[in-house]
Every structure is written in structure tokens, then in C-alpha cells.
Symmetry: C2
């Protein structure tokens, strides 16, 4: 029995043309075996070869910009401006990982020459990172480019030297198919093994992929329930493998009393823009905003309400998100402790919804009352500005840790800010000052991750060090120079290395 995979136009809720058949267990088996066979070659072709492959993918994606945006727009309902910016990010990301390969610092190349130690003579030891092996990447619904087939997990895994098999997200199979074609053609153009890239369609294919013995790591951006289901699959494997899941995040925003006094209206307008970016379907959307009691806080809330009331109808990605948004916002609205919701303008067609703003107080918060809702909604929580630190700690104790925590602070609050940073540091992977968490720059210093359930990883999924997820260390002891990787030979100076304990930059 085969199942046809097709997307839906979320603006009209009508089915689109079929894209593919659901991948069978036998097909997954062949793809995974191919990836395992291609892995040594991809590793041995070296950094410069893979940098060229990444640049070729970037160029190919840029060349298909118009097609990619058109097809993704139809499948996701996202505006062309959002999709264009996302594709720019995707292209940048492939070029960026090419730069990271050429820099070579990610290899953590380390040489300890033979010598005497307090423990006696030490052999010559040389350490480098090598690829883990084939990686399964699960495309996300909300980033059809930057977290999907052409996304950061793919870029960082290929940079590491591991073949990638992508599970296409059911929300955008045609975008995924075109993206995969770009990957495949770029690989062919530079002479990479054909099995460098693979793609599977359908839930069963994704599960088979994660269960397959040839898969050595999984990158996943999606829901907590979906992530937990895949963790269960991994727990059933003979060989446990790392699962890098980015799962669920409430992204609290804290506004101090002075910040409210100084910038109530600016913060409110930034907030409305942030909660409606991508129709509120960003992993970093602020789900809860802590605003002080008192007149300045009232001003901020009034401005935010006015902003939300004016928000145009928002198209959500698919029927599941649309129904969940309706159910979850309705349920929240009926909580006794939630007051005075404001609703944006409404639309009728497809998976269109109105934005929502709810309000409550810290003393009414209970653990688990507020959790992530995908879509253009947030909850303002008023806290007692006379007891800011205690009140905010109490509020944050009702929440799960998150990808981000945001502080809007006033100009003269040094001591309070230090205290707030201490409170949020254990609960997030990125702390934003006087800004908003949506919009994640791809750079060397970025962290997109956080304590469970934001992720289950001690590594980021965005930025340079995302590559570390798909590498493992290996040490050569007393090896002849000729068999060492070039980066571990004595006279190689093109990359940063730690030699006899001292870090050296590339010469």
C-alpha cells in the first residue's frame, strides 16, 4: 500500500498536487546503506572539497530563488518578504559553514609531543574531530528553507563530513523536493558521492530512518510530542545515538519598571511585531511577557492591546497548527485567572486566525498554566514592581526553561539587572537585552538551544558550533607522519591548533 504525499495551500485549505509516494522501509534501507557507503569518501575528500560543495549549494539555491519562494509561499502561506529573508539566511548559512571549514578551528586539532610527565613518559598524541557518520535531519514546518532540507542541520552535518538524509516536512513537500533537487545537483556538479544526500517522505519513513543502524545522529526541529516520539524510537535501538532536538520554548520577556517608564510604547510595538512574525510560528516567539503593575505598565499593555487589535488576519501553516491554535487559545481564554483578552482582525479563508493577547497576574500563575502555543498569541503577566526579583522568580518557576529570555531594562538599574540575569541564566540559552528574541543571527557566537524542553542538547543548532554535534574525537598515538591527517602534521600551520598545551592561531 502506498500513500501519496501532497501539501495543502493554507490560504485556502485546498490540497495541492501530489509530490511523492511515502518512502517505504525498503527504500529507507537502501538510502541509509548508500549514505553509510558514501561516508568515508565524503570525509576523506577533505575540508576544501566540502567547502566547495557548500558554496555550490548556496549558489544553486540563490539561482532558484524565484522558484523556491513561489513554491514555498503556496505551501506555507508565508509572505514573500519572510521567505526571501529566510532564503537569504539559508544561502548565507551554506557559505558560512564553508568559511568554518576553511578556518579549520572546528577540528580542535591538538598535538602533545612525546615527553616526560609526572606520570612518566608520555607518547606522542594527536587529536582531531572526525564525522560521526550519516545524519538524519527532520525538516521543520515553520522554516521551509533555513531549518528544512536546505537548513542549518544539513549544512552543519555536511560540513562535518557526514552524509545527510532529510525527512521532508509534510507541510511543504514540494518545497522539500525542489530543495533536494538543488542539493543533489550541486553534489553532482562538484563530484560528491550521489548518496551524499537522501530524502524520505512520510511519518513511517522518518521513523524507519531514525531506527536504522546506519544513522549515527538525528537533527530535529519540531514539537515536543514529535521529539519525544523519536526519542522513544532511539531508546529502542541497539546502539543509542545522539538526538539533537529543538522542541518547545515559551521565551519569557521581562520588562522592568524603569524600562516601562522610559519606553512603554516602543516595547509594546516591538512586542506585537515579534509575536506576529511568521504568523507567531517562530520557535523564539515571546509566549509570556512580564510587565510591572502601575501606570507605566498599564500604558505598555494598552499600547500592546491596541497593536494586537489592529493586526491583520494571520495564515497558519497547516490544519494541525490551525486547530491546535484554536483549541489552546480558547482553553486559555476560559481559565478563571485569565482576563480581558484582545483579539486582532479576523479572516475567514483557509487556516486564517486572529491574533490574541491575554493578561493575568503573577499571583494567579500556576505551574504549567502557560505553555507554548504556536501562532500569534502571547500572555501578559503583571508583577508587583515593589518586589521585582521575588515576583519574577515566582513567575519563572511556573515555566519550563526556554531557548531565550529577554530583559527590557531601564538606564539606571545595574543591581537589579545583575539579579535578573542570575535568575534567567539557568533557564535559557540566549539572553537578549532591550530587543526581541525572534530573528536568530547565524554567526560564530550564536546559541540556539537551552535546557530541556527547549532542547535536549549541550550544543547549539544555529551558528558555527552547530557542527560539533556531528563530530567525535579520535587520537593518534605515536603515528607515522605519513598516515596523519594533514591538519595533525608538524609543519601544517593553516588552522588554529593547540600544541603542547599552547593554543596557536593559523599562520
Amino acid at each position: 500500500m502506498s500513500t501519496t504525499i501532497a501539501g495543502t495551500d493554507p490560504r485556502t485549505a485546498t490540497a495541492l498536487a501530489p509530490v511523492a509516494e511515502a518512502t517505504t522501509t525498503e527504500q529507507v534501507d537502501r538510502l541509509a546503506a548508500g549514505a553509510a557507503a558514501a561516508a568515508p569518501e565524503l570525509h576523506q575528500r577533505g575540508r576544501e572539497f566540502r567547502a566547495g560543495l557548500l558554496d555550490a549549494i548556496a549558489d544553486a539555491a540563490e539561482a532558484r530563488r524565484t522558484d523556491l519562494i513561489a513554491i514555498a509561499s503556496q505551501e506555507t502561506g508565508f509572505a514573500d518578504t519572510k521567505l526571501g529573508a529566510e532564503l537569504t539566511r539559508t544561502v548565507f548559512q551554506f557559505n558560512f559553514f564553508a568559511d568554518i571549514l576553511r578556518d579549520g578551528g572546528y577540528l580542535e586539532a591538538t598535538i602533545d609531543h612525546a615527553g616526560d610527565t609526572p606520570m612518566g613518559p608520555r607518547p606522542d598524541l594527536r587529536r582531531i574531530l572526525v564525522p560521526t557518520g550519516p545524519v538524519a535531519v527532520f525538516g521543520a514546518s515553520n522554516f521551509p528553507f533555513a531549518f528544512s532540507v536546505l537548513g542549518g542541520d544539513t549544512a552543519s552535518a555536511i560540513a562535518a563530513g557526514s552524509p545527510v538524509i532529510v525527512k521532508a516536512h509534510d507541510s511543504h513537500p514540494a518545497t522539500s523536493a525542489l530543495s533536494f533537487q538543488i542539493l543533489r545537483e550541486a553534489a553532482q556538479a562538484v563530484g560528491a558521492p550521489t548518496a551524499t544526500f537522501g530524502i524520505v517522505y512520510g511519518i513511517r519513513g522518518g521513523v524507519d530512518l531514525v531506527a536504522h543502524p546506519s544513522i549515527k545522529a538525528v537533527g530535529f526541529t519540531g514539537s515536543l510530542s514529535g521529539g519525544n516520539a523519536l526519542i522513544d524510537v532511539i531508546n529502542g535501538r541497539d546502539e543509542p545515538i545522539p538526538f539533537y532536538g529543538e522542541l518547545s520554548s515559551i521565551n519569557p520577556v521581562i520588562v522592568t519598571a524603569d524600562a516601562a517608564t522610559e519606553r512603554a510604547e516602543d516595547i509594546a510595538s516591538g512586542l506585537v511585531a515579534s509575536i506576529t512574525a511568521g504568523s507567531g510560528q517562530m520557535c523564539t516567539k515571546p509566549g509570556l511577557v512580564l510587565v510591572p503593575t502601575g501606570s507605566d505598565g498599564d500604558r505598555l499593555v494598552a499600547a500592546a492591546r491596541a497593536g494586537v487589535a489592529d493586526v491583520a488576519p494571520q495564515v497558519l501553516l497547516n490544519e494541525r497548527i490551525y486547530r491546535t491554535y484554536g483549541n489552546d487559545t480558547a482553553a486559555l481564554g476560559t481559565e478563571a485567572v485569565i482576563a480581558n483578552s484582545t483579539t486582532g482582525r479576523s479572516g475567514e479563508q483557509g487556516f486564517t486566525v486572529s491574533s490574541k493577547l491575554f493578561e493575568t497576574t503573577v499571583s494567579d500563575l500556576t505551574r504549567g498554566l502557560i505553555s507554548e502555543i504556536f501562532g500569534p498569541v502571547t500572555v501578559i503577566v503583571r508583577y508587583d514592581a515593589a518586589h521585582t526579583a521575588d515576583s519574577l522568580t515566582r513567575a519563572l518557576d511556573t515555566l519550563e526553561p526556554a531557548l531565550t529570555a529577554t530583559l527590557h531594562i531601564g538606564s539606571g538599574e545595574q543591581d537589579l539587572v545583575g539579579e535578573l540575569v542570575t535568575i534567567v541564566e539557568g533557564r535559557a540559552g540566549r539572553i537578549i537585552f532591550n530587543g526581541f528574541p525572534t530573528g536568530v543571527a547565524v554567526s560564530w557566537a550564536q546559541t540556539h538551544g537551552g535546557p530541556w524542553p527547549a532542547t535536549n542538547s549541550i550544543h547549539t543548532s544555529v551558528g558555527a558550533t552547530a557542527i560539533r554535534r556531528f563530530l567525535r574525537p579520535i587520537t593518534y598515538q605515536d603515528a607515522p607522519e605519513s598516515i596523519l591527517p594533514p591538519e595533525l602534521r608538524d609543519n601544517f600551520g593553516d588552522i588554529p591548533r593547540r600544541i603542547d598545551g599552547a593554543l596557536q592561531t593559523a599562520r
Copy 2:
């Protein structure tokens, strides 16, 4: 109902004096809550403070050298020379992690100043690694110092800034108790929080510890079955946490034809020393040795047999290891494809056993025939020197991946060696040339880890980068200078940092 914890003298198989009561669930709860409360302080006291703590532990352990060795000798049956060398390593390890803290490179401090990018303006982003939170460390039977209460997991977790609760190994509870006293007193001496260190006794206490919500990572060196049991406990938690297990390793040794010709007797004597080090109870003991057919190989085997026949009786650590060694070597000896075992000198008392050497051929190997046996035993496998690469690939395909792979090579075998390295690279974390895998140097470039079931980690448990296991990244976006950790401020130059993409060494 309480259970008393006491060791056994393995030289006589008689029980030793009681050390402690088994730790109760309530006690584990108090310890874990204490560790969670101490964690922020341990982090905020900073690198120099923790370096001082580590040095104080090293000094205190050195000061108790005589007592530690005496008590460990009684509980483990290890020779004083082995225990003395191990304690030296332990002391070195604490000092080494103090050096790593002072170096500061482990923080991966990264600064991206605000600026324009192809994706538009980028905020100021500053990344650093922070502790994961309290760590549970499981002491190993076979290293009462270097992989136990005073071991590398403890040193690296404390260096990272995470409190540690150790599960004492039942083979050496009195050694563990004295080791813990040293930790506790050193912490008091430097003014560290009392709950920086905790200890639990008994299997139930260990399980409760791993299940406790305040524990954020687990370091484990032990058996595959023990590791799998703890992985199951973690799979039952609401919050998954990293489990760093070092579990099982066959450590194949490959001798090429030229190496046998050039150094048959030297290799044989080194091999016998390696398989009997620590009574064959090292994680890196060679469990399988691939020797070419032909007269040079015959010479090597004859010399190894003579060496094993002459090995004095060996004392094993405990009754479980003693019984398993007896059962597993007896079972191996009855395999139809195993021929001509050689047995060392025998002893009668306690958990004393004879060394064993078995022999078979590559064509008789089947998957799973040879697996890890703790104790002084190895299997020599003869391969066809006319088809070295094929024959060795076939042999290694019958084995699980390992911590190490060792190559004994001749002086003129460049091409063959390259081929062999390619074969073993995917199957081990350390590749040794013309040496033996036992004896793991503690250094910057060391890797003690490997693909499952050697470990389930993409990180090492020995050497500088072991600290990475207990850290997670955090990024500050547009943060005021005053709230940043010192290492992320613009004018701090004491540690290596990557600034706007360029690595800079400490100034």
C-alpha cells in the same frame, strides 16, 4: 530496612569491616537538593577559585598517599606499584584541570560585535560555556582512584563548575569513603559550599541519583549491562539528561607481517605485560590480537604462550568478576573453533585466577564470538598475510567498535598502513602505533572514548576536553558590559577568544 556496605579482601575472599549504610531515597533527595542549591555559587565563584579547589584536592590526596594506597590495596588486591602510579595520575589530573581552568580556552569565549551582514544588521552576540548543573559520577571497580571518587569525571565536572555526587563502587567503599573525606575537607579548606561534593552507597542510591530531577548529567565507567540499566533509568525521567558511559571494549591489536618479522618477541612480551596489567582489568586491555600466519607469526605466538605460561597468579577485584572470568574463559575454551589454550600459573586463595591465551583463525571468527572478558585473557587470531587488508576487515567486522585499535607495523609498509588506518578509524577513538593500549595519558590531545558500545559519547572521558561534557553554551545579546562574565568583556585578554570570527590567543 538498612543495608550495610562493606568491601571484601579479594586476596582472601573475606569480608572487611562495614563502611556505611546504603543511602536511602530520602538521603539522595537531600544530597541532590543541596547540590542544586550549591551549583550557582560554585559557578559564580569563578575559574580561579575552582582552580584553587582542584589544587587543594590534589595536595590533600598526595598528603594521604600512604593511607589511600593501604586501604585500596586491601579492597582491590591491586599491587602497591599500580595503586601508587594511579594515585600519581589522580593528583596530576586535579592539577591538570586547574591548569585548564586558568588557560580558559575551554570556555570557547566568542564575541561577534554588532554589524551588518548579508542578512541585515546583526546584534552584539557573546557566547560562553556555563555548567550544566549537578553531576552524578559512578566510580569504577578497576580504578579506585583515577576513575572513582577522586577520578577524572569528578575533576572535570568540578572544573566545569558543577557539584558532584559520587556513587561509591561496592568493590572499594572504604577507599571511596576516605577519598570523599579528602574532597570534603579540601572544599571546606577553601570555603567551597559544603554540598559541592556528596556520596551515595548502594545500588538503590545510584538509581535514585540518576532518576533525581536535580541531576543534570551522569558520568559512568563500568559494564555494558550496568550502563544500559542506567540508560533505562534516564529514559524514564521527564527530562532526558546526558549519560556519558564508558562501557565495553575489545581493543583489537593488529600485527603486520613485517612487524612480526622484525619484532616478534618484543611484541609478544609487550602483549603479555599489557593483558596482565591490573590483572587484565583495564578498559583498554587487548582482547584480541591479529597475528599473521607463517613462521614469524608462529614465533610471536610461541613467545606469547611462553610469557603467559609464566605469568604469576592474578587477583581479580571481586567475586562477580572472578566468577564471570571463570565462566567466560571456560565457555570460550569449549568453542570448537578455539584451539590450544595456554594457562598461566595458578593460585588458590581468594579471587585468584590464572592468565589465559586462546588461539583461532579469521576464517573461524563469527560475529560476537569474541567479546570483552575482564581479567588476564586474550585471543590470538591468525590471519592470512597474503590478503592482509581483506582478512583484517573480515576479522574486525566480527567485533564491536572499541576504545582503541593498535597497529604494529614494519618499517616499509606505508601503503598497507594507510589502508589499515582507514579500516580502524571508524571503529575506535584512539589508534596506537607500535605500542599497547593500556596506560592512558592524561593530556590535551587524549581521547578515551569510541563508537558504541565503547562509549555512547561524542566526547572523551580522559584529557582536557572531558570538561566539555558538563558545560552548555549561553549567548548574551546586546548585553551591558557590566553584567557580562569577565571573560566576555571587550578589554579582557587573559584567555583565548574568537572575536568577529578571528581566533586570538591569550595576551
